[in-house]
Each structure stands twice: as structure tokens, then as C-alpha cells.
Amino acid sequence: MNEFTYTLCHDTGIHARPAGLIVNEAKKYSCKITLCVGEKCADAKGLFGIMGLAAKGGDTVHVTCEGADAAEACNALKTLFSENL
């Protein structure tokens, strides 16, 4: 299992556009990818799930990837987060 945590920099948190970017990226991988903010978790491949987390600036997101291409997926998402969030 691969994982990382990331603290959101922008006040807007995970808005529709970055949520869309996460979904697009996550769908490239076969592994199961989960985003958790505090107690709430969501499948990274579903837009509603991610937006439903209502993650705001300053929140810490915990990303876990489980499966064959987990390492690749986590790296790609880590880059995406640091570039857009």
C-alpha cells in the first residue's frame, strides 16, 4: 500500500476543477485510490465523492493507493496535489 498526506494551500480547497483533475488522473490507474479528510473518505475516481469531502484550505488530505500500480498512482497524485492544490 502506498500513501501520502498533503495540506491544502489554497483557501478554495478542492473545488470542482481540481476535483476533476484528481478524477482524471486517478482513473488512469487500476489500483484503488482513497482520499480521506479527517473521518470522511471517498473514492478518488468519483467526482461527487471528492467534492462531498468539502476539503478546505488548511485541511490535511490523506491519500492511499492499493493495488498493482499503487506506487505510480501515488507519485502522480502527489505531483498533481503540489502543483494544483
Partner: protein, 542 residues
């Protein structure tokens, strides 16, 4: 004549006839289906068609409003791919033997509620997106095709407009749009701004009573709508419209050109702004930077002083929006004349000569430090400079610099990033500062001349007193001599000097300012391009 009012989304004046835009109500009735497999397949067909429509809309929108604003249609497409959304629809079809239209409608309501219950205003807006994309599905399932109806250019009036409807508005036929509902955060508002269509939202139900063909004037600058306007209003608005169009033209021809005289002398043109909302205006008018950010917007209209985080967020946002262009933040410039009761300022006989601005700051170091910390933290995110108003002595300057050193040390100890070389300047607006500018120039990085206050202090005349108008010459030789002295003293000490008072925009003085070597003029955003036009027409003698 009736006057309605709403929130302005985009400026501009439109004069024309009303066209009531009504979306055909989608009939949603629960119909029992026996072959649920077939119904799910029918839904899938509709979903694929919706994706094709959204893809086409994205391409169309991209050309009209750019990739970033067209992104909303990709978001809609992703919603239609969402596993939870789709399984909810399939589940309802299967377990309730329901038709697809019903299943989509119920699912849409559930998912929209997810958003409308959120704390964040932006997220609440997304409920409208869920409805928009679900409506699209239902329309396809119902076999509805969009109908036109708009033949001549008109002012579109609607209860609300979905993003897809906004983007499909034909700029040729739409003079403006007005909606009963809507919010500034909605994508509709964002799209309207990008499409340059005058728009007013949130007018409320009364706007829906307007009749097709009724004459209205839409003032996108003020948010007012004049229904069946009288002759005087019509004439005034026509004038306003002409002026707005002239400004638009100016924008087109002058944007991107240098602030350079015919003989090659250059000068910086910056913008004076009073709140983050003005940044867009500054950029639209080709400001080279922000020459004066009046920070009072953070302090006024509150019950307590703004904390460091609130201030930091605001400064950072502005710095980032200006993307590397200089932002000069002026520290608190409040006195007894402004509304900030929590500061507990005594009523004064002469607020202009009173306990105000830097005097309050030096007297209340905690208040001052909070602002300075916020500014320094924000300095890591853009090109920020610091400017202090109402200075009269070197002693003040030295005390301020000491406090700045304390702030920097604290931030360093807390491992908070900041720019170690934030330019530190002062406003020259008191006679003392102008007279001693040769001394002050050795202690700061730049001057900005506040001609409004300087004029009234130098001429000993209250600029708010109408009786004194015959006595106050804005071009008084005493003032101009002082400005020239300040400029010379600045340059002798290798610092730059700008003007941020109203005089900066006075085109009858532009040549004078250029000739004495003023480095920067900071004016109201809408005055930048006319000033550029003036500069480019000048050929400095000798």
C-alpha cells in the same frame, strides 16, 4: 418608469426590448417499467448522447470564453461518469421499476442536496450544476429538442440561466441578460464576465413580470434596470453608454503599448485600488502594478480588528492575482473620520491633523505588528512593497524599521517564509516630509506623493469645504515646487518617486511630471489608458 435593482455581474449599458426566456418545464412522472434492463440501456444511450453534447459545448465554450471557464462542461461530463451517481439511477430503475426520467430526477435532487447543505458558498453553487446536467439527461430521455425563439437583439430576462444556456447565448442577439435568481459565485456569472455581456442577477421575482417587447435600460455598472424609461433617463444612459463604448475602444487600441513619450521617455502607470475586487479592473486596464492598495477595506465595517490570517489571505490573494507585478500596500490610514468604532478613537476637531494612520500604529504596536506580519508573510507569494502614510519625522521612520526587524526575526524563528527585501517606502503627504525629503530619502526605498492631503496641508485649506474651492488651486505653484523638490531629492539619493494622489491623473500636468522625472503615476484603473494616450502624444522639450 419603474426601477428594479439586482447584483451587477458585468458592467456595460444596454438599451432594448425584453425577451422572456422560459425553459420548457421538464415533465417528470413516475411510470412503471416492466423491462428494467431495457430502461437501463435507454438511460445509457441518453448518457452517451449527453456526453457528446457536453463535449461539443466544451469546444464551443473554449473558443468563446477560454479553456479555464469552459472547464465547467468537463465537470458536468465527469458527473455523468460518477459511479455513485450512475448506480443510484440504475438502482432506482431496478428496485422501483421506474422510468429513467424519474430515476434521474430523484438522484439529481439527492446529489444536489449534498451540495446545497455545505458551508462553503462555492460548493452550494454546485447544486445548480447537478441540476443542469440532470436536466440535460431528462431532456434527451424525453426526446425534447432545444427551440430558438430569439429573432432580434434583445435583453434576455430569465428566472435563472444554467451555464450551458449562458454559453450558448448568441452575442449578436443578446444585448444583456437579467435574472431573477443567481449568485456572483455561479458559473453563469463567471461566464457572463468573460463573454463581456452586461448582466444583472438576483433581481427577484418582479423582473419576471416584464413583458416581451417592453423597453428597458440595463445599467450593468450600477445593477439598476429602468423599465419604460423616461426621456431624461434615456438621454443620460445613452451618454453613459457612449462613454463606456469609448473606453472600450481605448482599451483595444492602447492595451499592450508602452507608457512612452514620442522622444522615448518612459514612466510606470500603476493602479490605485481599495479592495481585492478591483484587481481585475486594474489588470483589464493594463496597470503595470498596484501603486496603492488602500488596506482600510480590511478594517472598516467590522466589530473588531482583522486578525493576521484574514489580512494575510487578502494580501496574498492580491499579490498572486497580480502575478509578479508590484503591489504596494499602504499600512492602516484611518482616523476619527472613518467608521471603525472598535479602535476607540476620540472625536476630534481636526481629524486631518489628528490621531490617525501611522500615529495610531506606532502608539499601538500590536495592531501595527499584526498588519506588518501579514504583509511580510504575503511577500513570499508575489512582488509586494510596503508604504507608510502620514510620516513627519526620521524618528518615525527609524521606529518603523525597528518594528519591521522584530517582525522579520519573529517570522524567521517561526520558520515562516517571507521576502527579506520588501521595499519600504513612505508617503510624502505632509509639508514636513516634503521639506525634509532629502533627509528621508536616505532611509527609505521609495516615495509616493499623496497630493490630495499634501495640497490641503500646504494650502491650509480643507478640500471638503465647498466654500474654499475658489482658493484651492490644484496646480498651485507652491505644490508644484514641492513636488519638484521631492523628486530631485529622491533621485539625488537614488530612490524612485511616484505620485498616487488625484493629481497623477491630471493630464494637464503629465508633461510637467515627466519633465521632473517622476518614475511612476498611480491612478484609478479606468484612468490608466487615457493617461497612456496622453503620454504617447507628448514630445518633451529639450
Amino acid at each position: 418608469m419603474q426601477i428594479l435593482e439586482g447584483k451587477s455581474v458585468f458592467g456595460g449599458i444596454a438599451i432594448g426590448e425584453v425577451y422572456q426566456f422560459t425553459r420548457k418545464a421538464q415533465a417528470i412522472t413516475l411510470q412503471r417499467i416492466t423491462d428494467t434492463q431495457a430502461e437501463i440501456a435507454r438511460f445509457e444511450q441518453a448518457r452517451i448522447q449527453a456526453q457528446m453534447q457536453l463535449s461539443a459545448l466544451y469546444t464551443h465554450a473554449q473558443k468563446r470564453v477560454g479553456a479555464e471557464n469552459a472547464e465547467i462542461f468537463n465537470i458536468h461530463a465527469m458527473m455523468l461518469d460518477d459511479a455513485d451517481y450512475l448506480s443510484s439511477i440504475a438502482h432506482i430503475i431496478r428496485t422501483q421499476n421506474a422510468n429513467a426520467e424519474y430515476a434521474v430526477s430523484v438522484t439529481a435532487d439527492n446529489f444536489a442536496n449534498l451540495f446545497s447543505g455545505m458551508a462553503d458558498a462555492y460548493m452550494r453553487e454546485r447544486a445548480a450544476d447537478v441540476h443542469d446536467v440532470s436536466e440535460r439527461l431528462i431532456r434527451i430521455l424525453n426526446g425534447d429538442t432545444d427551440s430558438g425563439g430569439l429573432r432580434a437583439p434583445a435583453i434576455i430576462v430569465a428566472d435563472d440561466l444554467a451555464p450551458s444556456e449562458t454559453v450558448q447565448l448568441d452575442r449578436e442577439k443578446v444585448l444583456a441578460f437579467v435574472t431573477a435568481k443567481g449568485s456572483k459565485n455561479s458559473h453563469t456569472a463567471i461566464l457572463a464576465r468573460t463573454m463581456n455581456i452586461p448582466a444583472i442577477i438576483g433581481v427577484g421575482a418582479p423582473v419576471l413580470s416584464l413583458v416581451c417587447g417592453q423597453n428597458v435600460i440595463v445599467d450593468g455598472f450600477t445593477g439598476k434596470i429602468y423599465v419604460d424609461p423616461d426621456a431624461q433617463t434615456l438621454a443620460e444612459m445613452r451618454q453613459k453608454m457612449q462613454e463606456a463604448q469609448q473606453q472600450q475602444q481605448l482599451l483595444k487600441t492602447l492595451k499592450g503599448l508602452e507608457n512612452e513619450t514620442k522622444d522615448g521617455r518612459k514612466i510606470k502607470l500603476y493602479a490605485n485600488i481599495g479592495n481585492p475586487g478591483d484587481v481585475a479592473q486594474a489588470l483589464q486596464n493594463d496597470a503595470g502594478g498596484i501603486g496603492l492598495l488602500r488596506s482600510e477595506f480590511l478594517y472598516i465595517g467590522r466589530r473588531d480588528a482583522p486578525d493576521e490570517q484574514t489580512q494575510f489571505t487578502a494580501y496574498r490573494t492580491i499579490a498572486q492575482s497580480m502575478a509578479g507585478k508590484t503591489v504596494i500596500i499602504r499600512t492602516l490610514d484611518i482616523g476619527a473620520d472613518k467608521k471603525a468604532d472598535y479602535l476607540g478613537l476620540d472625536t476630534e476637531e481636526n481629524p486631518a491633523l489628528g490621531y490617525r494612520a501611522v500615529r495610531i500604529c506606532l502608539d499601538r504596536p500590536a495592531l501595527f505588528k499584526t498588519q506588518l506580519r501579514a504583509i511580510y508573510r504575503a511577500s513570499a507569494f508575489g512582488s509586494i512593497a510596503l508604504m507608510v502614510p502620514m510620516i513627519i519625522s526620521v524618528d518615525e521612520i527609524l521606529r518603523i524599521k525597528q518594528i519591521i526587524e522584530e517582525v522579520k526575526a519573529e517570522l524567521t524563528a517561526d520558520r515562516i517564509a517571507f521576502n527579506a527585501n520588501v521595499p519600504f517606502g513612505i508617503m510624502i503627504e505632509t509639508p514636513a516630509a516634503a521639506i525634509l525629503s532629502d533627509v528621508f530619502a536616505r532611509h527609505v526605498d521609495f516615495f509616493s506623493i499623496g497630493t490630495n492631503d499634501l495640497t490641503q496641508y500646504v494650502l491650509a485649506a480643507d478640500r471638503q469645504n465647498a466654500k474654499l474651492e475658489p482658493f484651492i488651486d490644484a496646480h498651485h505653484p507652491a505644490l508644484l515646487r514641492l513636488i519638484q523638490t521631492v523628486a530631485e531629492n529622491a533621485h539625488r539619493n537614488n530612490i524612485w518617486v511616484g505620485i498616487c494622489g488625484e493629481l497623477a491623473a491630471d493630464v494637464s500636468l503629465t508633461e510637467f511630471f515627466l519633465s521632473i522625472g517622476i518614475d511612476e503615476l498611480s491612478v484609478s484603473p479606468s484612468l490608466i489608458l487615457p493617461l497612456r494616450q496622453k503620454i504617447r502624444s507628448i514630445h518633451l522639450k529639450n
